[in-house]
Assembly symmetry: C3
Homo-oligomer: 202 residues x 3
């Protein structure tokens, strides 16, 4: 129940971020809904394709399409109002980040990957949708732009994968991993932490 609720709010926040990007690019209403869907589900789809779990889970339920349509239309018709909600959206986005990196790692472990590679796939689950939405907007992905986002997902995924590999039960280490990713992301946001940028003159 709780996981389903977190899944819905997290997916909704991801879909909003995709829709906002599309509006910034002045896409048409179809493009806005499409990018909401892409941002919401592509991470999970990439993971499922890479572990051979096809058709991907995201294509077997009406839920994510419905969430994407609602989020996309909200962005299309009320862009400025959604923008003003940036703080709660970032909060729910961080919750999605935590949940999806742990769920993705779990599925990758079940597919037989080693803990390290499973954590990488868990991170990809969490960041893949944003990556794809950025690529479809023909802009360099946000996650490479000094945000502590992918790193937060990777940290949570690694904690979960390593805990699992030494026998800690999921019921303990899954919430811990998700909580670590979510809170790392939120603390970085509130303290304005950034990763160092590269410098071609060095």
């Amino acid at each position: 129940m709780l996981v389903t609720a977190l899944d819905i709010v997290g997916t909704f926040a991801f879909a909003l971020s995709g829709g906002l990007r599309a509006v910034e690019n002045r896409m048409d209403v179809f493009g806005v809904v499409f990018l909401s869907f892409v941002a919401a589900v592509t991470g999970g789809i990439l993971r499922d394709v890479l572990i051979g779990a096809v058709p991907p889970a995201a294509l077997q339920s009406w839920l994510y399409v419905t969430i994407a349509i609602v989020a996309g239309l909200l962005c299309f018709f009320s862009y400025r109002r959604i923008l003003r909600l940036a703080r709660p959206v970032a909060f729910f986005d961080a919750i999605g980040l935590g949940l999806f990196c742990v769920v993705g790692t779990r599925k990758a472990l079940d597919a037989g990957l080693s803990p390290l590679m499973a954590a990488l796939l868990g991170m990809l689950t969490a960041i893949g949708g944003g990556l794809a939405a950025d690529v479809l907007s023909a802009r360099s992905p946000m996650v490479f732009r000094r945000e502590i986002y992918a790193l937060a997902a990777l940290t949570g995924a690694l904690l979960f994968a390593l805990g699992d590999s030494v026998g800690v039960p999921d019921l303990v280490v899954a919430p811990l991993g998700a909580l670590l990713a979510t809170s790392f992301r939120l603390i970085a946001l509130s303290h304005d932490w950034h990763l160092p940028a590269s410098n071609p003159d060095r």
Copy 2:
């Protein structure tokens, strides 16, 4: 026979659109042929990967490579002449759109997807090649730019998927779905219909 003929002219039109894009980007001759191939086959390849039908059908026949090479070289050596044929090319492109959205939906239904999700995959079959060619040209995809293109494919795919789900035989509803997509696209072109663009100031 008819389906094979439509498949060839549709694929050829798709390949031409990819090649034209590559020439506009002043790519080299390899890039032009490559983008013709990408525009011609990526939609079907995405669909096949997502439903687990690998290796994808497009990689199991010489036909599509041959079509792409011919189309690409035409674009490379006779760009302005092909441009002047924009109207017949758009006509055959619309035929490809109709055919591919229905064929894609059929394959997705056979893979066990629900009618709604199968229609989405059918649409992706029809628009995926253009999407990929745009991404490889580092520009924001045409289908998000107020064109009634993806929407036409989705409408035809939905008609086919819903007709199939209530038991209408393929022989009836497949041509109807393809015809709906193709004529919707052509009417939108000739009447200059567009989707509303989003507006970040709203």
Copy 3:
């Protein structure tokens, strides 16, 4: 033993080229390592996904992640020094090109593809990483920009696929194919050979 050594130096050169691209785009340290990984493994991952060999080989070993992290950090901290090594890097990159196009063709043949399509997948194995790194940098891929790179890979892959299809043993035709691709690339570099660019005014 030799193949493993070539695999490591080739992967390392590919990873360096991804990392350099990321630094030019002023990505953060995470983005630089990520693009090194993408450039190193995406070609093989695309091939494995297309032939249904999932999870892809590149996700089943620590080796490639480790290579990508080392290469990425080198690019991040010592960009100018790596740039000054452009010639040896291009040399090892060409070795990777030769090796990966032959290995990719072999795997595609084993998956039942025809020699021509297997050679295409072999080429994709060799160029896919660079393509993906370019797309994630939101720039038009280098391989379409008059470089004799993909063409060299395709030539080597075709030699190997055709030799194999007429019964020449791998031990003979695999090194020949790799050598052809590598030396074609190196000769084109040293003689400044380029493919003709397209011209939208023609």
